[in-house]
């Protein structure tokens, strides 16, 4: 069943996208403003397509931005970059897209395909290729299950374009990252072109709806004075994002940050409230692993979220500060994100941890 997204939904979606970002993904604020503006100007809502109902012969081109958060907030987009990328890719392939789709449900990239959908009058598939946020362009179920990311088009504010055709998706990431820097540290892309049958096989389903559901639950709890954690967990019950549970409650006592190869790395320590235990969470843009002493309590690709202990608002890794009262929530991700093939691409060992991924039960 398809649904429509309205202007009033956007704050909820932004909050939910921050949650799915699992600490990273970039602030959705700029993207949210762009969608809002497009909806206000056109007076239309946006049509979302259910992944399962996508015709086999549909043609999907994913759209996104890539680059540094600092550049995104300073060099705001012209507005049509991602749409131009999609159009150019259509031209190259000689085939019109029937829909666009996010590559990343967490953070700012939850919003960019919605801008494309509004500006080109294209529906947006309710799904994505990460089911959360991850740092690189091959961190995609599309990649994991055999889809080539290229041909890919990268566009900047001038409408300058690069078309990439690479032998694998790692080379795509490597080359496009360099081009994005030359384009001013931020660029807008169209990639992973695929037909409907493929999209159904390789995508994480329902992740826009999931973001909306999560953001709404946190807001409703605040408005109705409900326990936000109960309400949030209940809102995810029966979805592919379950089980979800609070694994720690405490106070942030230390944040250590460093930057390596363009990634924000760090460790945060949380002291249990009324107890002696200390939880350690490592992050690389996103939260990767949560441990107490030597016991691993949560690990990627499951979502590890540090939430405000009173409101359940997600706290991103940039916003972590000593003294915050927090609860740590782990959420099991959909099965397609935790097959052996998927774990080989984004399991704990790919981030340098000598532990196995254990599904949450």
């Amino acid at each position: 069943m398809s649904m429509t997204l309205h202007i009033e939904d956007l704050p909820d979606l932004a909050r939910g996208a921050a949650f799915l970002g699992s600490g990273g993904g970039g602030n959705p604020y700029i993207g949210r403003l762009m969608v809002e503006r497009a909806m206000r100007e056109t007076g239309r809502p946006l049509e979302l397509l259910d992944l399962e109902e996508l015709p086999d012969d549909a043609f999907v081109i994913t759209t996104a931005m890539m680059g540094a958060p600092t550049c995104i907030v300073e060099k705001l987009p012209e507005g049509m970059e991602a749409a131009h990328s999609l159009r150019r890719l259509e031209e190259h392939l000689g085939r019109k897209a029937t829909a666009t789709m996010p590559i990343e449900a967490g953070g700012v990239n939850s919003m960019i395909p919605l801008v494309v959908g509004m500006r080109l009058g294209l529906p947006v598939v309710d799904g994505d290729g990460m089911g959360r946020a991850f740092p690189e362009l091959y961190h995609e179920t599309f990649h994991i299950y055999g889809v080539s990311g290229t041909p890919m088009v990268i566009t900047n504010d001038h409408g300058d374009q690069t078309l990439l055709d690479t032998h694998d998706n790692y080379m795509m990431e490597w080359l496009s990252r360099g081009i994005a820097i030359r384009m001013g540290g931020v660029a807008y892309i169209a990639e992973y072109p695929m037909d409907g049958a493929t999209a159904k096989r390789v995508s994480v389903s329902g992740t826009i709806g999931m973001g909306l559901r999560i953001g709404r639950a946190i807001r409703e709890a605040r408005e109705q004075h409900l326990d936000p954690f109960d309400h949030l967990i209940r809102s995810m019950e029966g979805t592919s994002y379950s089980p979800a549970r609070v694994i720690f409650t405490g106070k942030l006592i230390e944040v250590f940050r460093r930057t390596k190869d363009g990634f924000a790395l760090g460790t945060v320590k949380i002291q249990e409230l009324g107890g002696p235990r200390v939880m350690t969470i490592d992050f690389q843009n996103e939260n990767l692993i949560a441990m107490v002493d030597d016991e691993v309590l949560a690990v990627v690709p499951n979502l590890i979220n540090i939430l405000d202990a009173e409101t359940a608002e997600p706290i991103t890794t940039e916003e972590l500060r000593y003294g915050q009262r927090v609860k740590v929530m782990v959420v099991s991700v959909p099965p397609i994100m935790r097959t052996p093939e998927a774990i080989a691409v984004w399991g704990p060992r790919t981030f340098g941890y000598d532990v196995d991924f254990e599904p949450l039960t």
């Binding site: 540094a68 600092t70 300073e74 060099k75 705001l76 012209e78 930057t259 002291q271 843009n285 000593y322």
Partner: protein, 517 residues
Amino acid sequence: MSLRIGIDVGGTNTDAVLMDDLKVVSKIKTPTTADVTTGITNGLKFVLESSGTATSAVNGVMIGTTHFTNAVVERRRLQKTAAVRLGLPATAALPPMVDWPQDLADTIGGNNYLCHGGHEFDGRPISALRPDEIKAVAEDLNAKGITAVAVSSVFSPVNTDLENEVAAMLREWVPGVSVTPSHEIGRIGLLERENAAILNACLRQLAAETVAAFRKAISDMGITAPLYLTQNDGTLMSAEFAEQYPVLTFASGPTNSMRGAAFLSGLKDAMVVDVGGTTSDVGALTHGFPREASVAVDIGGVRTNFRMPDVFSFGLGGGSLVKEDPLRIGPQSVGFRITQEALVFGGNTLTTTDIAVAAGVAEIGDPSRVAHLDKALVAAAMARIQEMSEAAVDRMKTSAEPVPVIVVGGGSVLIAKPLAGASEMVKPNHYEAANAVGAAIAQISGEVDRVYSLAGMSRDAALDDAKSEASQKAVEAGADPSTVQIVDVEDVPLAYLPGNATRIRVKAVGDLTLVGR
């Protein structure tokens, strides 16, 4: 020897102090008047007369004010203002004021112009400036009679040239225009920096009038010394500068209290609790300056990112209502009506001040009026006040180590015992006038916040460049060169941009050069 008068104009009270070098000579708390200047005149008169000081002996007057913040919050006396942004073809997706509350955008006319220009993070131009576009903007401004303009350019913190060039063009082509270039106010983050510049532009006329009124109040008293206003980073600006940058006064109140607390206690690294009548502010001092907020700050519904102290406010003050069964303290308060409504002043409302008097930790009003209060209630309320303060301090601390806590403000009698997590608790002399003292002792600063591309430059060279420019800016603003020091250096490599870009923020401060008489 230098004599300074510090004045803090708050919503309720105007505090004034006269300081002789580092000594408080005289102080007074008077009600803030509707016209603001009468309250200032009253304060000035008292501190001079009570100390027998000749007006000619005063070397400087420093005023901290909430006047401009209130104008934005109340949407009053704001000028019609236009925003000119340089960055096309980039940025067209989100024009200026796109995220403003509609009523405020309407109040100032909502005029904006997108033009070519702007830079990339590494300093390359996005597109060349087109003077014909600026000329057309000028003609439109003239036709509409708009004389307040904010100019923003993409990555202007990296390269300020374009904003300056366009400001010069507009000054030539638009008679009587006042221009605010965004790089002079905010930092990286185009919308937030531009927002701050637009707010500044729409306050310029009010600033000119207000500063003129301040000047008149001072000269009417026969004082010929220079006038300064305090900024939100705890440093001073000249009256001429304040006329151009009124937005920099936002949130200077809490900053002045924290700076005053640092000065009066002699502590440079500590937590400060400023207990007022309705709320308390908690902030952290590092190197004698308030720690700055790292997230966007909302003013009157507008996101900005300029320098603001990181302050946590909570609902505890000397006038907070105390309710029984269950015990509740605040956030409601009798505020400035405390001298009529509190029990110790013969009123009928149980306030935190009554609790403090009943507990024997304060001598205010008539203690016999609270003698009947239940001992258990008084003890429980005092414990709750203590807990609220401890939780707030803990929230704002940057590490688990115990740190000194300085308690100031008129309501600080409420905090009677050392707070948990404090290595020591200090309530300095003149604690109730810490805000005015903070204004009187404020220093002069210079700041640089810029993204450096390290492709052809070492990190150390970039840091040195930023430090010398910040020091130079402080001296230009009036700092004694021999006292200028770098108080803050932040070096943040940009994520996703491997190895070649870093954002550096440096702040230098120095003592204001005041000529002794």
